[in-house]
């Protein structure tokens, strides 16, 4: 299935766009999505402990992704 990935900050700059379409297997976990992204964009491996959020919530590595989900890649946050 095709999913759209939202990205921010340093990862958005690596992806080149805020929205990135990517083809993933129908049953995909957060960890396997990360592996896929890292093989396509090796530079994100240099970003310490980035997270994935599903529908505005931080997701654990074994969470499963559905096509209808809003998926975001979250580099280390630094507000304030």
């Amino acid at each position: 299935m095709k999913v759209t990935i939202l990205s921010f900050g340093s990862i958005r700059e690596i992806f080149g766009n805020k929205f990135t379409e990517i083809e993933v297997p129908d049953t995909t976990t957060v960890d396997s999505l990360k592996a896929l992204l890292e093989s396509k964009y090796p530079r994100i491996k240099g970003i310490a402990s980035y997270m994935v959020a599903i529908n505005d919530e931080y997701a654990s590595g074994d969470s499963t992704i559905k096509q209808s989900d809003e998926i975001a890649v979250i580099p280390p946050v630094c507000g304030g």
Binding site: L6, F8, G9, S10, R12, E13, A48, A53, D56, E57, A72, I74, P75, P76, V77, C78, G79, G80
Partner: protein
């Protein structure tokens, strides 16, 4: 009362106070985060703030809910700005009112500490000779 906002326009500090001040409160603690003109000796031209707005507001709500559980506070306000900010401009306002000042101080400090760890907001420092995404303090 509590109010969390991500804004792309300058923050109005007096308006923040007017929202949380109350005759039931004995004190307000307010943290105002401002843009510094230098980092590790390098001159900062400006900062660029970026937020994942929908998620940021939800994460702020979690922090606020936790603060209400931990301390007897009355009103909490968090306003965070996005976009291009010059040195001296205000990036974040956190204001907490409480009957007694200890709760206001403790909650306000907790909120800014936790916001920096969990709320999806990022900033890029733009120098004369380059730019860099700011990493959280270890």
């Amino acid at each position: 009362m509590n109010e969390m906002k991500i804004l792309s326009t300058p923050l109005n500090i007096q308006a923040c106070i007017d929202k949380i001040i109350s005759p039931q409160s004995g004190g307000i603690d307010m943290f105002i985060g401002t843009v510094r003109d230098s980092t590790k000796g390098r001159t900062v031209k400006h900062l660029e703030y970026e937020a994942y707005e929908s998620m940021a507001v939800k994460e702020m709500q979690k922090i606020v809910d936790e603060a209400f559980k931990k301390w007897p506070v009355q009103n909490i306000l968090i306003h965070h700005r996005t976009g291009i900010l010059k040195p001296g401009e205000t990036a974040v306002v956190i204001a907490v009112s409480a009957a007694h000042r200890d709760a206001a101080f403790d909650a306000c400090r907790y909120i800014i500490e936790t916001l920096k760890k969990t709320v999806p907001i990022w900033k890029k420092e733009v120098f004369e000779d380059g730019e860099e995404w700011v990493s959280p303090n270890p």
